[in-house]
């Protein structure tokens, strides 16, 4: 009888500072048999364990076919993430997962893909962008929209710049407050939609970021003719066990760790924005 709470051991292969107190950790399970069995979908998350400190839910940001290094992009904001962010290559962590439902990438082939994020570099959707670029022929246009509070918060600036040069790809960036040398839009992320070019009747929108931004953007998209069911959101709650047992990540009738973190907008629209859920 296996213990669902017991992590595997993982080695930190690399630690890459990304700016704005974010780092990417490349991890590898130390047991070859466990490594062999491990599979994930973009949008899923792992529980990472720091010895003597505790566990935290972190989404996978690497490609699901690149299983030799499992990448996790982490922002140092909490008790566990502060320690995780400073961890050195060669260190050992605990890892269990993957948990939850990821992005519906299999279901949306042949459509325009709209990726809309707010806040600091949103790892769950960066995995989507990389996934699509690696399998470009399966999808039509790719529209990437990212909003940040201050232009200095934008990480992966070069990536956005190189994505913008790709065919059938549109990159729209916005900062509420812009410093000097910001060539993009100044204003809210949701206002970027005005310049986005995609087929509203054959698209899939994937969103991640602060809930007010996701709610506002989803409403704008629906006004523009995008059906509710073609919009997906990555939600965040206090995921602690990862398999719907501990009860902390409940969101109305859902366990975010199990029924999400990626939800279809049509399923959760009624609950979004209701303070306390």
């Amino acid at each position: 009888m296996s213990n669902a709470y017991l992590p595997y051991q993982a080695e930190v292969l690399k630690q890459v500072p990304e700016g704005s107190s974010m780092v990417t950790l490349g991890l590898r399970l130390t047991d070859p048999a466990q490594r062999q069995r491990y599979r994930f979908h973009p949008g899923q998350f792992n529980m990472l364990y720091v010895y003597g400190v505790g566990e935290v839910a972190i989404s996978l940001s690497s490609d699901p076919d690149q299983l030799d290094t499992l990448e996790h992009t982490i922002r140092a904001v909490g008790r566990v993430t502060r320690v995780l962010s400073a961890i050195e290559p060669g260190s050992r962590l605990g890892l269990r997962g993957p948990y939850g439902k990821g992005w519906p990438l299999d279901q949306v082939e042949g459509r325009d893909i709209v990726v809309l994020t707010g806040g600091l570099g949103c790892a769950p959707v960066v995995s989507v962008i990389n996934y699509i670029l690696q399998r470009r022929e399966r999808f039509r246009r790719l529209v990437i929209m990212q909003g940040v509070k201050h232009s200095a918060d934008l990480i992966w600036r070069e990536r956005y710049q190189s994505w913008a040069k790709l065919p059938e790809t549109q990159v729209l960036l916005a900062a509420d407050v812009a410093g000097s040398g910001w060539p993009w839009h100044v204003g809210r992320a949701s206002t970027l939609l005005d310049g986005a070019q995609f087929d509203v009747s054959n698209c899939a929108v994937m969103m991640c970021g602060p809930e007010p931004m996701m709610i506002g953007s989803a409403e704008s998209l629906v006004e523009r003719g995008v059906p509710d069911r073609d919009i997906w959101l990555s939600m965040e709650r206090n995921m602690a066990c990862g398999f719907g047992a501990c009860g902390h990540c409940q969101f109305g009738p859902y366990f975010v760790c199990q029924d999400g973190p990626v939800f279809n907008y049509s399923d959760i629209k009624w609950l979004l924005g209701n303070k306390g859920f």
């Binding site: 017991l6 051991q9 130390t30 010895y51 566990e55 050992r92 602690a240």
Partner: protein, 369 residues
């Protein structure tokens, strides 16, 4: 599942049941009077049972009184159901060691479970156990829960009384026991009607001096269950309040109840179905090992909804609403029925006497349940 016809066990022979269970390798737990309440504790002799005791329950009140008959199970319930025996308040999940070379050794801590026979379980307790089984066994299997659950032998007792706080009739979970127990007993003035509920019951029954039953005795037992049902003064306004509750998230009653609620979590502790738990990492002082454990948690605490610097539920209004909309609403989506079995414990043990049936009725009033 009735495997044999019901028989009669004289009250003076009740010790035979305790002895038979002990001989079969079980530690026996039964109702005992401790600190003014009925609790399940180790039972070796029938004179430890609360003969003649009755409980008087009301919102925020619990008193034991001595009656003048010799009934052993005339009390209704105490603060515990079966939950502490299967979903333990605290348990170690795993241990980790960090060696000198920096490698981690993550070690499972296999659960320890002893065979336990519990005497005096009520119908609502069995309904709650079935709900906990759905949570801990029918999704991801919880190793500790399963180990303890598999070693339980359940001796249920039909209710012949209801407390003023009971409302199992309205939830459909009592007062008569139908399934989920190994033995089902009804108490009469001079003894017990004993009915097998599982295959395991056979070997226990074979050790008892059982007698044929009269039609009158069976009728009396049925009548007492009906009396218990008729005594109930409270009820939820429907078996499925999900849509009604979620349609009333801005009802003024949530703010009103929040002014009375202390956010203490007593209702969660005594609720036989609440399953939330938090894990804790406890490093040893010498830094070479650490223990990862879990303990009961409550949606009334601040930490329950914490995500990096943000509390999803920062006030009592949203915490009480979370508890009630989950218990009577979200459970339908998650487990196909309400998470309330009508035991009334949250009403009795609430220090300010908040009554779940009253709150649900106020919030769902005017809504077709």
């Amino acid at each position: 599942m009735a495997t044999t016809l019901p028989r009669f066990l004289r009250r003076e022979d009740f010790q035979q049941l305790i002895d038979a269970l002990r001989a079969a390798g079980y530690r026996c737990l039964g109702p005992r009077v401790k600190e003014g309440a009925i609790v399940f504790d180790t039972l070796v002799a029938m004179d430890q049972l609360p003969g003649g005791y009755r409980d008087r329950q009301a919102p925020g009140e619990y008193h034991l009184e001595r009656g003048d008959d010799g009934r052993l199970f005339a009390w209704v319930n105490g603060p515990q159901a079966l939950k502490p025996l299967t979903f333990t308040p605290r348990e170690t999940l795993w241990r980790a060691e960090r060696r000198d070379d920096g490698t981690l050794h993550l070690q499972d801590v296999p659960p320890e479970a002893e065979p336990l026979a519990v005497i005096g379980i009520r119908s609502c307790d069995l309904a709650a156990l079935a709900l906990q089984d759905a949570h801990f066994l029918h999704k991801t299997v919880d190793a500790g829960y399963r180990a303890r659950r598999e070693k339980l032998f359940l001796v249920a007792m039909n209710c012949s009384r209801s407390a003023a706080t009971c409302f199992c009739v309205s939830t459909g979970d009592g007062p008569g026991v139908h399934e989920g127990a190994d033995l089902i007993l009804s108490e009469l003035d001079d003894g017990f009607i004993v009915q097998a509920g599982s295959q395991q019951a056979g070997s226990i029954l074979s050790r008892l001096s059982l007698h044929p039953l009269s039609r009158e005795q069976l009728g009396q037992a049925e009548q007492e269950i009906q009396t218990a049902a008729d005594q109930q003064q409270r009820g939820l306004p429907g078996r499925n309040l999900r849509d009604s509750l979620f349609a009333n998230l801005d009802h003024p009653r949530w703010s009103e109840v929040a002014e009375r609620c202390l956010s203490c979590g007593n209702c969660v502790s005594v609720c036989p179905t609440c399953f939330c738990h938090a894990t804790r990492e406890q490093p040893a002082l010498d830094g070479t090992s650490t223990e990862h454990s879990r303990q009961w948690d409550s949606c009334y605490t601040a930490e329950h909804s914490y995500i990096h610097g943000l509390l999803i539920r920062a006030d009592t209004r949203t915490r009480y609403r979370q508890w009630l909309t989950h218990k009577l609403g979200g459970w339908h989506d998650q487990y196909g029925r309400s998470g309330c079995v009508g035991c009334g414990r949250c009403i009795t043990w609430c220090p300010v006497g908040i009554d779940i049936t009253e709150e649900a009725t106020a919030i769902c009033a005017g809504e077709d349940p």
